[in-house]
Amino acid sequence: MAFPTFVPPASTTTGQPSAHNDSEIVLQTQALTKVFGSRTAVDHLNLAVRRGEVFGFLGPNGAGKTTTIRMALGLITPTSGSVEILGQNVWQQRDRVLSQVGALIETPALHLYMSGRDNLQAVASILGTADARRIDEVLGLVDLSDRQRDRVSTYSLGMKQRLGVAVALLDDPQVLILDEPANGLDPAGIVEMRDLLRRLATQGKTIVISSHVLSEVQQICTRVAIINHGKLVTTSTIDDLTRGQGYFVIHVEDATRAFAAIKSQPWGREATLEPNLTIHTAAPDGRGRDLVSFLVGVGCVPDQVAYEQVQLEEVFLRLTSTPGAANGGA
């Protein structure tokens, strides 16, 4: 089905905060660019994440997500542009800025020969936050208290993932950057992780999530940025992205006649007749009642008309597969 043609919400495609929201920006990239040899991995990327947001950072494999995150965390030097966290340039105030950022980058990075607790202890020593009570607290937070003395090499991937989150939370950072936090978690673990992130957000923490599990992103994130080929495609709230992007599913007795009538209308040119004889179509001005009136008017009284909301996944696929779509924010 080719409709509806997706148009990114115009007001927020620049990555700058919309005029009505004056919340503090805690993470901002400005014309951030990284060139590896002849390949531009990240191309003049402008992003702005506000305090307390759960911000989804999406893109297909190789889109430049991890490179962007690594530049934000001071691991990769940008070719040009800048990253500011909490109002300070990451590359100029590295220690001050990044000490307030917790990160989980790709697979959980842990010392496999040490116990879960010792991993936290080692990081705590480095950060100067060696506090046994806090270690107990974060272990409880990620539900690893019972296995804290076991070697990490004996942990399941989900447990390692949770320990990685515990490391990120160790000194109660203001900003959390999580790359694929649901990776390796079972369904119950995913629900717990979702719960945990939501509650962290209610405490005023800003969370940036890069994930391929778009259904999760849709449930957790308040706003998302989609990048492709290193360029920003759009930045928008989930609602703005999916609003008006749905379609109507019509069950009608004489489907062939109804389909022909709909196809003759300007708003129905992209309608499709599915093999199960349901019609998928847009509606006049997007209003369901006008669609029903039209059908009744042409003598095809529908048995059932339902509105199918487009999922983030579909929007994502459309945006990242459309040639030239990656222009919105660049």
């Binding site: 010392h111 490391v167 109660d172 405490q203």
Partner: protein, 315 residues
């Protein structure tokens, strides 16, 4: 059920401190099983020469008759063994300390919390230095205990021990310094190799392969020198690290009378200090060997620093 602390912690806004990073590295080293296994193994091995001195009749007789030279023989042998063994131990430890962070990706977690790359490298180097000093001091103390026990057992009291004069202690001290230089060179080599390859496997291969290769290189250069009838190739061996470190104790210590136990009884032999490994084909004085080691250490350090400073962390 998950619970979240709602209290703001006093730790917020703290920046990583060098000593904290060093402490974290020391903590990680203490959790490496290989550290303890090799330490215990070293202590066990070092008992053997003293055990031989105590219980093999010929050696025992030599110790009673020529206390200073027999003890010095034994100490030199042990320190030479220690130089090699400690070198291997420190190479493995340094490779793990640097390489595991790259291999397991933990380096990105540390750096992403605001730790500077060179600060981290410096902290790791300091942690390794501290461990080296502890290992050296521990081994020396262990040797002292074993020596005292052996001399007491053989002499039936502290009589033999008190026979050890100032020259003996001075020579032992000088030999110990050459062990320290060798240890530093080994650590520097292992750090540079691991930073270069960013993996434990590469670090181990280069770190542990370097000294056998440049020892063997001496033999190759000797053959080339003979074949080409040109001393240039043989002269090159003066600048190889391994042979220089091997020769350092010989260059540092004066020639002394060593007692060599033979089937027909102990024989006096005037020679330099005992040292394991192949020596350069053209020998120099102690300062030259020290300079060769220093140049290598500086080159290894420069390589590690530049690579750490310039390269992005993609692990």
């Amino acid at each position: 059920m998950l619970a979240i602390s709602t209290t703001r912690r006093a730790t917020i806004g703290r920046t990583p401190r060098f000593w904290g990073i060093t402490r974290g590295e020391l903590f990680k080293i203490s959790r490496l099983r290989s550290t303890w296994i090799m330490g215990i193994l070293a202590l066990g091995i070092s008992i053997l020469p003293w055990f031989a001195l105590s219980f093999i009749p010929r050696q025992r007789a030599s110790l009673v008759a020529h206390t200073i030279s027999s003890t010095l023989n034994n100490v030199e042998g042990n320190l030479s063994l220690m130089r090699v063994f400690l070198g291997i131990f420190l190479i493995i430890l340094a490779v793990q300390t640097i390489g595991l962070d790259y291999q397991q990706g933990t380096i990105r977690i540390i750096l992403a919390r605001g730790v500077d790359r060179l600060q981290l490298l410096g902290a790791k180097a300091l942690a390794l230095f501290i461990v080296s000093v502890i290992a050296l001091a521990g081994w020396f103390l262990w040797e002292l205990i074993l020596g005292t026990v052996t001399l007491s057992l053989v002499g039936g009291g502290f009589g033999l021990f008190s026979a050890l004069n100032g020259t003996f202690w001075q020579d032992t001290g000088l030999y110990a310094i050459t062990v320290v230089v060798s240890a530093l060179a080994s650590v520097a080599l292992a750090i540079a190799a691991t930073v270069l390859g960013r993996s434990v496997a590469f670090g181990m291969a280069v770190g542990l392969g370097f000294f056998p290769i440049d020892n063997f290189g001496t033999l190759i250069l000797r053959v080339i020198s003979i074949v080409t009838n040109n001393t240039f190739w043989a002269q090159l061996t003066r600048y190889l690290l391994g042979p220089a470190l091997n020769y350092m104790p010989i260059a540092a210590l004066p020639q002394t009378t060593h007692i060599v136990a033979t089937p027909s009884g102990p024989v006096n032999e005037v020679s330099g200090a005992f040292s394991l490994g192949i020596n350069p084909l053209y020998t120099d004085n102690f300062v030259h060997t020290l300079l060769v080691a220093l140049v290598y250490v500086l080159a290894f350090a420069a390589l590690a620093i530049v690579l750490t400073w310039r390269r992005d962390v993609k692990e």
